[in-house]
């Protein structure tokens, strides 16, 4: 049996009296596409927040490639190779594509105490390359992200994660607020991750989307896992029933 890339062991999370996550354990295998479903308040977002480092678990541990890890912030998770893409909040619309690609990880010509001069040329050429890698062709890396369509933005976000060689990509409802064509495109991106050897966790409300691109489906309800099956062993009806 292959070793899981991420092991979640007995994770608990309390938010001022609310028990949002009640002892969740989950093994995520390398190169699989995991679909995470559940109603609002089921604990999906909490689980994602712990995995992406934006929040810290109250109890339990996260093991990455056999090593226990502790994320104090999103940057720690990124350094371990976990990238998270949110429905709309992973890009700054008032900034250019090139600047968005490298937010917080700007290539510097030189620096002093973490502050330094950005290598603008490198940012421009690398972002054009990275975007072309996800089969998205934008004429200028200097266009503002705010000018892109929702699907293009997700494309850029995915390009960014791939550029930084993420091992695990978490996509938190990336298709919300997108049109039909745009959704297709994003689902296409998710499918292509498998071929690139990237493990992904895809969160969605839409069962059809999950069944269209995932290998395995995990359902949550009221802070607990209620279903965990290979996609071919289950059906949309069965998943609906447990939720």
């Amino acid at each position: 049996m292959t070793e899981p890339i991420i092991q979640v062991k007995n994770l608990h999370k309390w938010y001022s009296g609310v028990h949002a996550l009640k002892g969740v354990s989950l093994d995520i295998l390398p190169n699989e596409t995991l679909g995470l479903v559940g109603d609002n308040g089921a604990g999906k977002s909490t689980l994602i927040a712990l995995l992406s480092g934006t929040e810290q678990p109250s109890e339990g541990e996260i093991i990455m490639e056999g090593r226990p890890v502790r994320f104090k912030g999103p940057r720690d998770a990124m350094n371990e190779g976990i990238e998270t893409i949110y429905q709309y909040n992973s890009m700054v619309p008032t900034m250019s594509i090139a600047r968005n690609m490298f937010i917080g990880r700007e290539p510097l010509k030189f620096s002093f105490m973490g502050i330094g001069v950005m290598d603008g040329k490198k940012m421009a050429t690398e972002s054009v390359k990275a975007i072309a890698d996800v089969d998205l062709h934008l004429r200028s890396p200097n266009a503002l992200v705010g000018e892109l369509s929702g699907g293009q933005r997700q494309g850029v976000a995915i390009a960014r994660s791939m550029y930084f060689k993420s091992k695990v990509m978490i996509l938190d409802e990336p298709t919300n607020h997108l049109g039909v064509k745009e959704t297709e495109k994003v689902i296409g991106f998710v499918r292509s991750l498998k071929g690139l050897g990237i493990t992904s966790v895809f969160i969605s409300h839409n069962m059809h989307q999950v069944f269209a691109c995932c290998d395995r489906i995990v359902a949550m309800d009221r802070g607990e896992l209620v279903l965990d099956k290979r996609i071919e062993e289950t059906s949309i009806e069965e998943v609906h029933k447990v939720l």
């Binding site: 940057r75 909040n89 700054v92 502050i115």
Partner: protein, 328 residues
């Protein structure tokens, strides 16, 4: 035209620049060529750095998504701290440094209160406006302290230099700060973080940017620049009045807004803030030159501010509606 609007998205200071050119032409014609003569320019450039430095700081802070209403009070507090120490016999370097440290401390407190308690900076800095002004009056004892002659190196800050004594030294300081701050905002990773923090806070946070520290740093830069500007004014006037800088905070916001800075953060340039500050000085000076009742100054400033915001909002909408081209 389309091209101009598209460029506008990357250069939000364009509208302000157009206003500036139009007003310059109007004043130049109306004053029979006096407006742009060297004597008058000398006058405008001589006091521009004071407003300009404050506007630079306020613009930077507004790009990070916050506000500072206390800059006018810091403008008075900083030189007062310096003056009280000078009157006490402290050497200039230490007195000057202590003044700037006081400004920095005010910025730090502004930032920490805003970030830690998650309250709008409009409120924290409104409180600080009163607090800092009060401290200024208290430490002055109600009267401006008498400064020993030669206590301040005026040659370094306010004496006239250049061809025909065209500039004051303060103008050179102003240019230096302007270049440094423009560089900081456009070329360094810190500038990128400031823009991201103000542009869309959740994204900046999720990308691991230390947004709280970025904001506090922006507050401190803003405060220090306001304090430095106040110090320059005191050296120019020769006496530290506790009442200087009143109303300056709102003029600085007006300058930033006229220069294309968005109140919501994330949009704006240092150059825009400077253009706004120049515009304010130009209106102030121009109205007098064309023998207009100078009491209309605030009317003109107010009208221009509102007009600038409307034009900027319109241009931004227009520019956005022109979609970015893709190959497919």
């Amino acid at each position: 035209m389309k091209k101009f609007i598209k460029i506008y998205l990357e250069k939000p200071e364009l509208a302000g620049l157009v206003f500036l050119i139009i007003l310059t032409i109007v004043f130049q014609v109306q004053s029979d060529g006096i407006f742009l003569n060297s004597r008058n320019l000398q006058g405008i450039l001589g006091i521009l750095p004071e407003m300009g430095l404050v506007a630079i700081g306020v613009t930077l802070l507004m790009i990070s998504g916050e506000f500072d209403l206390s800059v006018g009070s810091v403008f008075a507090l900083t030189p007062m701290v310096m003056a009280v120490l000078l009157a006490d016999g402290t050497p200039f370097v230490f007195a000057f440094g202590a003044g700037l440290l006081a400004a920095m401390a005010v910025g730090f407190v502004n930032g920490m209160l805003t970030v830690r308690f998650n309250i709008p900076s409009f409120i924290t800095t409104l409180g600080m406006l009163f607090v800092a002004r009060s401290i200024t009056v208290v430490i002055s004892g109600g009267f401006p302290p008498a400064l020993p002659p030669g206590a301040m190196p005026k040659w370094l800050f306010t004496s006239f230099v250049g061809p025909g004594g065209m500039f004051r030294m303060s103008f050179l300081w102003f240019v230096l700060v302007a270049v440094l701050m423009t560089f900081l905002m456009s070329r360094t990773n810190f500038g990128n973080w400031v823009r991201a923090t103000g542009g869309f806070l959740p994204a900046a946070k999720s990308m691991g940017i230390p947004t709280a520290r970025v904001k506090v740093a922006s507050f401190m830069i803003c405060s220090v620049l306001a304090g430095f500007a106040g110090t320059i004014q005191v050296m120019r006037l020769g006496a530290p009045l506790p009442s200087i800088g009143e109303g300056m905070e709102l003029q600085a916001v007006a300058a930033a807004v006229i220069g294309g800075t968005a109140l919501t953060g994330g949009i704006g340039t240092i150059l825009g803030g400077i253009i706004g500050a120049v515009l304010i000085r130009v209106i102030d000076n121009g109205l007098v030159l064309v023998q207009f009742d100078a009491n209309w100054f605030k009317m003109a400033l107010g009208g221009l501010t509102i007009l600038a915001v409307i034009v900027n909002a319109w241009l931004r909408r227009k520019a956005k509606s022109i979609k970015v081209e893709t190959d497919k």
